[in-house]
Every structure is written in structure tokens, then in C-alpha cells.
């Protein structure tokens, strides 16, 4: 979706020059399809087939090792809306957890990296060094950052609380075991960890904005803010769309941070949808039920993505 918009924009910006001379018209032949083939094969094998198969699984009581996989129709779906079913509370609780995380992490992950990208886009000494500094945490695996922060944020023994205590602030905040602290920790760690990625995308986008537009803005007497509003933001729109959708999807699929830092505590408050789906399917071997949950989550994300997409479009 995103790539298409980018291409569409550049197409309108630079219309194709009319053919200069008589060009022999030939059908596209097999060439484009040959180029598509490797991707198509991968897409069909690893995306399309599993997706359709998952839909099939979700209509069954499915344990891949049990001989009987009885067809149950939409039972796995209706259970998710039946408050008496064993999955109802847990599922919606986990959806809520994913929702909370997304609502609080996405704005930060869209705005903060943009600010950093704007700073890093200016020329100053040591720019490359700072670019590396902001991107560095993103290179670390979730296991590394999870373990690291679990120790740093430990309510009784962690460095964060003892530093706070040293400067006279309360030193008994339950960063990983209490609310809302656990959410603050999870969002904070995630922003620290992944902002470099979005910043790099923004940087690339910023460098694509033609310098002439800034010069024109200056000639017109626009200040810094006017430049940002009328040149930078419109120029970044396709990139912004990509960043927003990508971040929403990544945040709603959050798993590792909760799994490692809070283990879903307190109670199951920070157990995200993906975490619960994994438990249901991979630990409880109820793949049918887990698939139904995944489809519901997918549907929700599809609707959200389409809404965002539309919001960006209507601004045109």
C-alpha cells in the first residue's frame, strides 16, 4: 500500500516524457511476470497459503497431533463474544492491553523521531556519530533490551530507582510490577529501542525534499515554522503515512517487551494480544481458537490501517 502511494506521487511530480519517436509497440510479454515470479512464489507459499489455511484451522477444534480435528463452524469466533466462555475475559483483556500500548506508544514514536530527524538533518560536527547513537539500540535484539531493562527497572534493586532516590525523588516506584508504571516502562523502553528506525526513515524522506522549495519559502519571507508547515510536512506525507501505519502495526503486535520485562504482570494486565494468542495456540495447543483470535486481531488492524490511509488521503 505504502509503496504504491510513494510511486504514485513521484509519477505525478514528474510526468513521463512523451515518446520522442516512433517506438515499436510490443506487449509486455512474459518479462514482468518473470520478475514477479520469485516474490510471488514466496508470497503464495509463506503468506497466502498459511493465511487461508489459518482461516480453515479457525473453523475447527484443532490440535495438530490429535487424530480428530472436529469442525466447529464459527464456535471459535462466537466464544470470543460470549462472556461465559473460558477465553472471553482473557482475550479482551489482552486486546485492551495491546490497545493501551498502541495508543501511548504510537504518538511518541511518530513525533519524537521526527524531531530527532530534523535535528540530525542539519549539518553540524559529529552528526554521523549522533545518527549512530540514536540508531544503535534498534540493533539490539528484544531479548537483550528486555533483560537489560528488567534489571535496570527492578523496583527494589534496580539502578533507575536508586538513581531517583539519590536525587531525592521517590525510590520505590513499581516500574515493572505496578500500574500505570508498567505501561510507562514498556512504552518508554520501546520508544528508546525503536525510535532510531523511524528517525532513519524520516531522514531519508527529508533528504528527498527539493532544496528549491526551502529557498522559495525563504524568498516568500517564511520563517522556520512556515518552512516546516508548508514544505517539510507536505514533503514528508508519504513517509509519514508509512511511519504511522508501520508503527501502529508494530505496536499492536508487541510481544517481547511484555513477555520479558513484566511477564504480563500485575495479574495479566500487561499481557498483550499476541502474547495470549501464543499461549493459547502454542502452549495450550488450541490452534483453532488461537487462529480465530488472530483473525479478529487482523481485522481490527486492517480497519485501523484503512482509516489511517483514508485520513492521509482526504488531506489532498
Amino acid at each position: 500500500m505504502v509503496e504504491q502511494t510513494v510511486r504514485a506521487e513521484s509519477a505525478t511530480a514528474a510526468p513521463e516524457p512523451a515518446p520522442a519517436g516512433p517506438v515499436k509497440r510490443r506487449g509486455p510479454g512474459a518479462t514482468p511476470y518473470l520478475f514477479l515470479l520469485p516474490y510471488l512464489l514466496l508470497f503464495v507459499t509463506f503468506t497466502l497459503v498459511p493465511a487461508v489455511y489459518g482461516l480453515w484451522v479457525s473453523l475447527h477444534e484443532w490440535d495438530y497431533l490429535l487424530p480428530g480435528k472436529p469442525f466447529v463452524g464459527l464456535d471459535n469466533y462466537t466464544a470470543l463474544f460470549d462472556s461465559a466462555s473460558p477465553v472471553f475475559d482473557f482475550f479482551w483483556q489482552s486486546m485492551e492491553a495491546s490497545g493501551i500500548f498502541t495508543v501511548f506508544s504510537v504518538p511518541l514514536l511518530v513525533v519524537v523521531p521526527l524531531g530527532i530527524a530534523l535535528l540530525l538533518n542539519r549539518s553540524f560536527k559529529g552528526r554521523t556519530f549522533f545518527r549512530a547513537v540514536y540508531f544503535a539500540p534498534y540493533v539490539l535484539g528484544v531479548a537483550v533490551i528486555g533483560l537489560l531493562w528488567r534489571f535496570l527497572l527492578d523496583p527494589n534493586l534496580g539502578a533507575v530507582n536508586s538513581l531517583l532516590g539519590a536525587i531525592g525523588l521517590p525510590d520505590d516506584t513499581a516500574w515493572t510490577t505496578g500500574l500505570p508504571w508498567a505501561w510507562i516502562s514498556l512504552v518508554g523502553v520501546t520508544v528508546w529501542w525503536t525510535l532510531g528506525f523511524n528517525a532513519v526513515i524520516y531522514l531519508a524522506g527529508l533528504q528527498d525534499i527539493p532544496r528549491e522549495l526551502y529557498d522559495a519559502a525563504k524568498v516568500d519571507g517564511g520563517g522556520r515554522w512556515a518552512e516546516f508547515r508548508h514544505v517539510t510536512l507536505p514533503g514528508l506525507r508519504p513517509v509519514l503515512l508509512f511511519v504511522v501505519i508501520n508503527t501502529v502495526l508494530a505496536s499492536s503486535n508487541m510481544f517481547g517487551q511484555s513477555y520479558l520485562i513484566t511477564q504480563g504482570a500485575p495479574g495479566v494486565e500487561t499481557r498483550t494480544a499476541i502474547m495470549y494468542i501464543a499461549e493459547e495456540g502454542l502452549r495450550g495447543y488450541r490452534m483453532g481458537s488461537a487462529s480465530a483470535m488472530s483473525y479478529l486481531l487482523t481485522l481490527a488492524l486492517l480497519i485501523i490501517s484503512m482509516t489511517i490511509f483514508r485520513l492521509f488521503r482526504t488531506k489532498d
Binding site: N156, G267, R283
Partner: protein, 444 residues
């Protein structure tokens, strides 16, 4: 499982059959049809293997200090049995329990593996592991060679699926320097509820929070389970038709743990592993933890520590324990040579389990546990003294799913978000639904 037979009754039958085979084996009249026949793993087993060369894949989750010990045992086995080549693969336990069934279902499963005792019934019901009655029989193993709760835990639906390698119970680890600092005798740790609370009081008066109550499964849930049994309770009835952990003994157990926090013997909001770190740092005096902690604490320089059986807080001694068990995995096509070689391997490792004990476990075999060599391992022996007071969850498929609800209750109560009785009752409601779901699924 047939509803009119109790689990113990079924186990009795199993043990009886094992005994019959034992007698049969003595009179040397071949495999006993009662036990040896009928299963997919029906080849009579022996303690040596003379067939053509075979290669066995052995998977387990010994990623910690136990990994190298097992690897050394495997190497020794390979050098003493030139016609069998065992290769060992190690995965994180959580990955292992996902990988192995998937591998078995595609016909790429390993030949041999290790399984925690609470996983055995689930994997037996799902056809991942093979019955091992004949292994037990031909290796002449029976209940008397092990400890009754350990030995019985490997039976599902009247068939044995697992041969115990070890048990890893909880023990009480204590920091001697901290006890001394509070004027307590570091060589005489408390053994009763009154002594324990008196010690905590003394520690508190010196500004030390003696027992950090942890809200996480490792090992908060384990402590809750130990205490529930100590107060005379059970987690589930024997056939796991309903949860019992929310009844009086369970409520007493969780209230006792929660009160540690409420009365200031423990800090609030203890995070994962913080209880053990606090013991190492001299911030806590006691930590009820698994036997594997021996290795962790040995690695800490200048730490004076000891370990004993859990104090008896309730009316009777009891302790949580896990147990590693040998299993053989189902293959697409049975290779009798491989099965035979696998049995030889299981027997070999089982007999060498004193080496395994040195890695920080209590051997499941009685003869080894009673031997002088094991008694010379003071820490392991102290924890091992609890062997007859250990409890395992019912051998019912899907039981780990129902047990997970306990984790949530313990977490909510110790974090002071719910009163213990309420947290347990909520969890029991969920557990009930899960048990019912499992019965439907596995045909209870």
C-alpha cells in the same frame, strides 16, 4: 480415564503389573505379556545392545549449568557403547515443548528426550511419547527403586510414559552472614512456622526484610504450592475434575505469603529473580528456591550460605518439586534397534545419576540417593531429605494450562491487588473452565 477408578487405584494396578514382570524376569521366561505386549513400544528391552550401529538423537532443555554435566555423561556413554552414537541437542525448555511435538508430527522427532513430569500426560495423550512399561520392566525398575510420588507421576491412563531421572525440590536457602547480623544462629535455620516468624521479626528489628515474597511463578507459585500442601490441601482432586487450590488450605497458604508483605517482612513489588539477588546481596536472609540455586550460589564469591529443608509452616512437611524424566518419542516407522539402544541409554544415564546429582539435582533412583556418595553432597542431601514429602500435579493432559491460573492468583495477591481468597476463587473459576475444556478435548 475411567471415572469409577481413582488414580491411585490405577497406579496400584500399574505397580502390581510391574512387580509381576519383575518376578517374570527373575524366572527368565521372556517378556511378560501383561506389560511388554500391546504397546507400540513392545520390544522386550535389555540392558545391552548388540545390534548394528545406530545413531540416536537426544533432545533436552538443559541450557544451564546442567547442560555440560549431561553432555559429559553422553560422551561417556558413547565411548563405552561404540555401536550407539547419541547426539544431544539443547533448546530452551519453552521452545523445546513447542518444537518437539511439531517435529514428531512431521516425522522428524528425536528418538529420546527429557520431559518435566507435569508435561508427560499431555504429551502421552497427544501421542508424542511412547509407553515405557517394558523399559521399566526389563530394566527391573519399580516403585521401590524410586520414591512413590515421583514414580507414580509418570503414569497416564494406566501406562508408564516416563522414567524419572531426578527430582528438583524447593529448599530453603539462607544467608549466614545476614542471620548472624540479626543475632540468629547461622547453623540452626528455623524449622517451624513460629521459629520462622520469630526469625523474621528479629531481622525486621535490624531493618532487614528477611523473606522477599515474589509474585512470579519462579518461585512464588512454587512457594504457594509447598504451603498449600503443608496446610493439608491439594491443588486439584486426583483426577483433576476440579480445582481445590481455592479452598481453606490454599487461602491460608497465600494469606501467609501475602502477610509477609503486609507485615513488612518482605518489600512490596518484588520483581522476577529479585528475591534470589537480594539473598546474594545480603538484603534478604531466606529464599525458598529450587535445588538448581545451589549452582548459582556456589558461583558467588565470598557468600556464606546454607540450605535446608523448607520449614514446616503448616501442619505437615511438604515441598514443591519438579522432576526430569526420560521419554522416547514416537517415530513415523518404528526402528526396533533404535528403541532398544534408547533403553540402554536411559538405563546407563539413570545409573550414573550420582554424576548428575553433582550438577545440582536429587537423583530419582533410591540406591543412589541412599548411597554414601550422595550423602557427601551436603546441599543436595539436605534438599533431598524431603523426597517423601514431594507432590506432583495429577497426571492429566492439559494440566499445565489449568496450573497457569494459579500463577495469576499468586501474582495478584502478593502484589496486593486482590485479597488472597478472592484471587484464588477467581483463578479457580477459570481453572474449572479450562479443566472442562481439556476433558472435552482429550476425552476425560
Amino acid at each position: 480415564m475411567k471415572p469409577h477408578l481413582t488414580r491411585r487405584g490405577l497406579l496400584g494396578l500399574g505397580v502390581g503389573a510391574g512387580g509381576a514382570v519383575l518376578l517374570g524376569a527373575c524366572s527368565d521366561d521372556g517378556p511378560n505379556p501383561v506389560v511388554g505386549g500391546g504397546g507400540e513400544n513392545a520390544q522386550p528391552a535389555a540392558t545391552n545392545y548388540t545390534g548394528p550401529n545406530v545413531a540416536l538423537a537426544f533432545w533436552n532443555g538443559f541450557t544451564g549449568g546442567d547442560g555440560p554435566v549431561m553432555k559429559a555423561l553422553v560422551d561417556r556413554f558413547n565411548s563405552e557403547n561404540p555401536n550407539i552414537k547419541v547426539t544431544m541437542n539443547v533448546y530452551e525448555w519453552a521452545d523445546y515443548y513447542q518444537k518437539v511435538p511439531a517435529a514428531v508430527s512431521t516425522g522428524n522427532g528425536p528418538d529420546l528426550g527429557i520431559m518435566h513430569v507435569e508435561q508427560v500426560a499431555t504429551n502421552a495423550a497427544r501421542g508424542v511419547v511412547l509407553p515405557l512399561d517394558d523399559v521399566a520392566a526389563s530394566l527391573q525398575l519399580n516403585e521401590a527403586d524410586f520414591s512413590p510420588p515421583v514414580w507414580r507421576a509418570g503414569v497416564y491412563n494406566n501406562k508408564r510414559y516416563a522414567i524419572p531421572l531426578d527430582v528438583h525440590p524447593q529448599g530453603m536457602f539462607y544467608n549466614k552472614a545476614v542471620l548472624e547480623q540479626a543475632g540468629l544462629d547461622p547453623e540452626k535455620p528455623p524449622t517451624t512456622g513460629e521459629e520462622y516468624l520469630a526469625a523474621l521479626d528479629k531481622l525486621k528489628s535490624k531493618g532487614i526484610q528477611g523473606h522477599w515474597a515474589t509474585p512470579f511463578p519462579f518461585t512464588g507459585t512454587h512457594q504457594f504450592e509447598s504451603l498449600t500442601w503443608q496446610f493439608g490441601g491439594q491443588l486439584f482432586d486426583e483426577q483433576a475434575t476440579k480445582p481445590l487450590f481455592a479452598e481453606e488450605p490454599g487461602v491460608k497458604a497465600l494469606t501467609w505469603l501475602t502477610d509477609l508483605v503486609k507485615n513488612g517482612y518482605s518489600p512490596k513489588n518484588v520483581a522476577q529473580d529479585a528475591d534470589l539477588i537480594a539473598l546474594q546481596n545480603g538484603k534478604a536472609a531466606f529464599n525458598w528456591n529450587g535445588i538448581w540455586t545451589i549452582n548459582t550460589l556456589r558461583a558467588v564469591k565470598n557468600l556464606e550460605w546454607g540450605v535446608s529443608a523448607l520449614p514446616t509452616i503448616g501442619s505437615q512437611p511438604a515441598a514443591w518439586a519438579g522432576s526430569h524424566n526420560f521419554v522416547q518419542f514416537k517415530q513415523r516407522s518404528q526402528d526396533q534397534n533404535k528403541l532398544q539402544a534408547g533403553k540402554v541409554f536411559i538405563n546407563f544415564i539413570s545409573k550414573q545419576s550420582i554424576e548428575w546429582a553433582k550438577g545440582g539435582q536429587v537423583p530419582a533412583r533410591k540406591e543412589i540417593r541412599d548411597g554414601a556418595e550422595f550423602k557427601a553432597l551436603p546441599e543436595q542431601a539436605a534438599i533431598g531429605s524431603q523426597i517423601d514429602n514431594l507432590h506432583f500435579p495429577p497426571s492429566v493432559p492439559g494440566i499445565p494450562d489449568a496450573m497457569a491460573t494459579i500463577d495469576t492468583a499468586v501474582n495478584e495477591a502478593i502484589l496486593l491487588r486482590k485479597e488472597p481468597a478472592k484471587a484464588l476463587a477467581d483463578a479457580a473459576g477459570k481453572a474449572n473452565q479450562i479443566l472442562e475444556q481439556n476433558r472435552k478435548k482429550y476425552g476425560g
